[in-house]
Amino acid sequence: MPRTPQMIEKGLTLVDAINEALYQEMERDDRVMCLGEDVGLNGGVFRVTEGLQNRFGPDRVVDTPLSESGIMGSSIGLALAGMRPIPEIQFEGFMGPAYDQLVNHAARFRNRTRGSHTVPLTVRVPWGGGIHAPEFHSDSPEVMYIHNPGMKVVCPSTPSDAKGLLLAAIRDPDPVIFFEPKRVYRSFREQVDEGDYTIPIGKAKTVSEGTDVTVITWGSMVFECLAAMDQLPDDLSVELIDLRTLNPLDTDAICASAEKTGRVVIVQEAPKTCGLASELTTIIVERCFLNLQAPVQRVCGFDTIMPYAKLELQYLPDAKKIAEAIGAVAAY
């Protein structure tokens, strides 16, 4: 939707920025469609698609039946036939029924037809915990989609990154999963470029430069890491990297920082075993072994089912746990 006076004065939330990207891209490209459960008249359960149906009509902003495999499978068909569908899965916990269509079909069409059929779609998914939602509304299943080849996986943490990455995702010729950290949806505002810009998929961002310890994370954990850095002694210099794209990884940026500091902490809210942090650790050990001054440390969720609201903050990494890990790695 066009910006409100509040947005002009105080900036955009993550929700506003994603909405603006969708709005602008639908204006620019009539192949773009938004579809999913409640995305039309209701504007989505998080109001991310607010106002889009009003502007672009019910044929381009479509309330679909309640059917995740249906949403994903028909989006694949739309994309095969030249459209640029943006399906929304209402919560990451509901991706299960769409998993087959995503992993076995969206991700494979280009390869299995040697490029004669492609599936340029962008799946938007509210992702992660921390908002006291019911069960199946707070998971972080990104590694399921990183491990399977053929899809790109993006997880922005700020409104500006979200807008630029979403525009890049929609224009990307391959399927992109766009995880939206719901804990950040309305947590802050920032000024966002009103124009048309993209942020390249596959490029990490150095949030703050430092020399002593590298901290690598993504999504809402960026803000827990910033809070952790506030708790650390002033003379400890931390370099914080926000991956932004989870597949393909910006291994050059990761390794450059690891080689510089020799000390690395990786923070993820997903369960620990076989998470993306495990892969990042391996990459760093393989490529930067001789530069390491300390064992790479992971601060992760536990290998448990994501607990319901009452225990979710005990499950999620927080500033205190992260600060302890950074301190331990720095002192090793």
Partner: protein, 399 residues
């Protein structure tokens, strides 16, 4: 006969009322399914039904001749492919034997280059009609992704191995035709077993809710590998499953090329005019094994197979042509020989195609190869140990 006569009279209860209503609904559902049969097992044509809505002949004898020759080719392909598999040159192959009228009758009703075919894996003849090279199909079953390269202008999606998933793609492709206001209809193929998959129901629901130009064509060949239709579903017909979605539903004799063609043609025209979705259930039989890796004798009787052999679509189509002086044994023999020679040549070319390079594994994952994949690709090119570059560097420096 009054069936009530032999039943002991019981007091009329709420239960009786329930049963009566239930039976009425059941009858209504069954009765709503139209069954089309035009060319019988003896090759006798129902002249009244073999006409289009405007009174033209549904198929001219020349068209039937053309389609019959395609049947011969398809049957010969089965023979050649079977032998190639047994001699180790194809890895797996699903024979189409017995189901050729389904693929040909429906494929012939769709407009080449205009309408979309979203196949399963037992519609060879339809694919060929619509421009898919036969060599590609053989290449695919020989374990080569290049067999699924779809030539420019051919509106077909690749052969779909997982059951039922392609129906949703068809719904989406048809949806795009509607959004773009294209005059194109989409037909998707699947078997009786696939109607147990959730994707069948989600696809029927999406297609009908959005009223897209799609035809769902079920080749009910009675067996999903070893599970018979009766064990696959409790519904009397596959076609009636479409009633729940508000689709047009029709059952045809799937070994009758006239019936299949008529149902598909009507469905196509209805779809073009915005009349929505049709579910066609074609009753047919898989005369061969599920694939070359299967042995159907383990689960079905020789008597059953024998009884279906009499209903073979080739036999009745041939009888139709013979009755009109368009076919005889000599023509059959020469057509078989021609087809065999043609297929052997195509198979030879396909199976002697230069093997893929290892680069092929990596080059088509994304439009642009990511850095890590490029590394892996290059390592496989240069290092027989397929170590990653970092390890390769490490072992070199130790030497």
């Amino acid at each position: 006969m009054d069936q009530g006569a032999n039943v002991r009279r019981m007091p009329y209860t709420a239960w009786n009322a329930f049963v009566e209503i239930f039976m009425a609904i059941r009858t209504a559902y069954t009765a709503n399914i139209e069954h089309i049969s035009i060319l019988d097992e003896n090759g006798v044509l129902d002249e009244k039904l073999a006409k289009t809505a405007s009174g033209e002949p549904l198929l001219t004898p020349e068209q039937v001749l053309f389609l019959y020759e395609r049947m011969v080719e398809c049957r010969q392909l089965d023979e050649v492919a079977f032998k190639l598999q047994r001699s180790g040159r194809l890895f797996t192959y699903p024979q189409n034997k017995g189901q050729e009228a389904c693929a040909l009758g429906s494929g012939f009703a769709m407009r080449k280059g205009q309408d979309w075919l979203v196949p399963c894996y037992r519609e060879n003849a339809a694919l060929f009609l619509h421009g898919m090279p036969m060599g590609h199909v053989l290449l695919f079953w020989a374990g080569d992704e290049r067999g699924s390269i779809i030539p420019e202008g051919v509106k077909i999606t690749p052969i779909a191995i997982p059951i039922g998933t392609q129906m949703l793609h068809a719904a989406g492709i048809a949806w795009a035709q509607k959004v773009r206001k294209n005059d194109s209809v989409v037909i998707t193929y699947f078997g009786d077993g696939a109607t147990s998959e959730g994707d069948f129901h989600e696809a029927m629901n999406f297609a009908t809710v959005f009223n897209v130009p799609a035809i769902f064509f079920c080749q009910n060949n009675q067996w999903a590998i070893s599970v018979p239709r009766e064990q696959q579903m409790n519904s009397e017909t596959v076609a009636q499953k479409g009633l729940a979605y508000g689709a047009q539903c029709v059952q045809v004799d799937g070994n009758d090329i006239f019936a299949v063609y008529k149902a598909t043609l009507e469905a196509r025209e209805r779809a073009r005019q915005g009349g929505g979705v049709t579910l066609i259930e074609a009753i047919t039989y898989r005369l061969g094994d599920h694939t070359t890796a299967d042995d159907a004798r383990r689960y079905r009787s020789a008597d059953e197979v024998e009884s279906w052999k009499n209903k073979d679509p080739m036999i009745r189509t041939r009888k139709y042509l013979e009755a009109r002086g368009l076919w005889d044994e000599a023509k059959q023999k020469s057509a078989e020989e021609r087809a065999e020679a043609m297929i052997k040549k195509i198979a030879d070319d396909a199976l002697n195609f230069a093997p893929p390079t290892t680069d092929e594994m990596f080059n088509y994952l994304y439009a642009e190869i990511p850095e890590e994949l490029r590394r892996q690709r290059d390592t496989l090119r240069t290092n027989s140990l397929s170590m990653n570059p970092e390890q390769a560097r490490l072992s070199e420096s130790r030497r």
